[in-house]
Amino acid sequence: MTSAVDQLEQADLVDMNAFDIDDVIEYVHTGSARLPGYLELYDRYLRQRWNVNDLDFATDQADWQQKVPEPSRQSFLMVASGFHHGERQVQVELAPLLLGVSEDYKVFLTSHLEDEARHTVFFDRFYREVVGVPGAGIMDVLDGSWRWVQEVFVGPFGLLAYLTDELRRHPYDRRVQMRYATTYMIWIEGVLALSVMKITLGFARDHKVLPAYYRGFTATCRDEARHVQGGMRFVRELLEEDPALVRDLHDTLRTLLIMGAARSSYVAYEPLGWDDQRVSGLFAEQLQRKLTMVGVSLPDEMVGMVASVKPTLAGG
């Protein structure tokens, strides 16, 4: 019998409602002892690419108004808005990485960039057509959802923006590349996004609502699997070339964990069927899995910092 992970590899957009987010997360980590090569990942992109404009949000619009209670709507927006902005950020902050990496990774990164643009459009459509946020352009709708984004979002995503600026100025600097990849691929995509995807998708699945959101966001998660696998390969290659770069990985993680210990307001997860402790547990689990993928362990003094990370943020 073909496993769910095997089926996910071949599935089209119309089939995405059949998959659970846990299937997608397992797909990310399948065979991580041998991470796919960049051109293999590019081939998967060509086969798995989906059209964001094939999604019909009419049922989602009705569900949002009639079936999703107000407390759940508010919690959903506080989580999903992090993705709305996160997807835009990981799209606009990717291009400079192409400058200084291998030719094969450059090819894959063009697909990664196109994916993130598609995810940005996905959330733009969700916020316009389902939530009802108006706007003449994508930035208008982003401005409209900003009120639901946690203030501490500026921590990891500001760090990503500033490291991108360094990368633009020093594209071949391996230390900058490592700091950037730790922030983008390990933390934002590999920890925050993969953890928090479970929350809104689980809610939609359990309450049988928002079918187009479920289909499109599950497809988004499958795209993220390629990004994380490509990113972890890149980090592993950096470490193989120069093991001393583990210091930059650890230093950057230390900053991310320090920032992660802050929150300025609560996110109520209970209306979505979650709680703070379970969400924090997701973060810790995903961080450990990413570090295993790249063959790195945390220094003892940082292990305790992981438990202090607040369950506040969604990623892109």
């Binding site: 979002f153 500001g158 760090l159 500033y162 600026d165 900053t255 929150r263």
Partner: protein, 150 residues
């Protein structure tokens, strides 16, 4: 771009220092969880350094002018106006932007977007170290934005 005449002046710098050292107000403090301010206080304890807030002169390469702040455990101990080349500034951190970015922030543009959209950039200093105190720097910019400019 019209430059407010009082911007980056000695007098304005002194008022900015006072605003930073007296923030947050009780009303503003109440808008966030107390644990957030405790995080900011812990960051302050490790911040005894010099930082420059710098206005880039778009027509003149790395030349411009700014406000040099000497921080002692996060409090602004003194300020002075500086000008010349950004590379010559004797500070651990230089946070720089075009006049249009500073003006937008002073006129109410969101401080967090100002950072995340790179309307201000860290043109000198270790980015990874800077972000270990990021919420302190964000609140410093919020306080700065509250000071009127003539």
């Amino acid at each position: 771009m019209t430059v407010p005449s009082g911007f980056m002046t000695k007098h304005w710098g002194e008022e900015v220092a006072a605003a930073i050292n007296h923030s947050p107000s009780p009303a503003y403090r109440a808008t966030k969880l107390e644990e957030y301010w405790q995080w900011v206080d812990r960051a302050k304890a490790n911040l005894s350094t010099a930082a420059v807030l710098w206005v880039k002169d778009a027509a003149e390469g790395d030349r411009g002018r700014g406000l040099l702040m000497h921080l002692e455990r996060g409090r602004v101990a003194s300020t002075e106006t500086v000008e010349g080349s950004l590379g010559d500034q004797e500070a651990e951190f230089v946070l720089a932007g075009e006049m249009s970015s500073w003006r937008a922030m002073l006129e109410g543009y969101d401080v967090r977007k100002t950072v995340m959209y790179r309307r201000l950039t860290l043109d000198k200093g270790d980015v990874v170290l800077f972000f270990r105190s990021i919420y302190y720097w964000v609140e410093l910019l919020v306080a700065l934005s509250s000071v009127p400019v003539a």
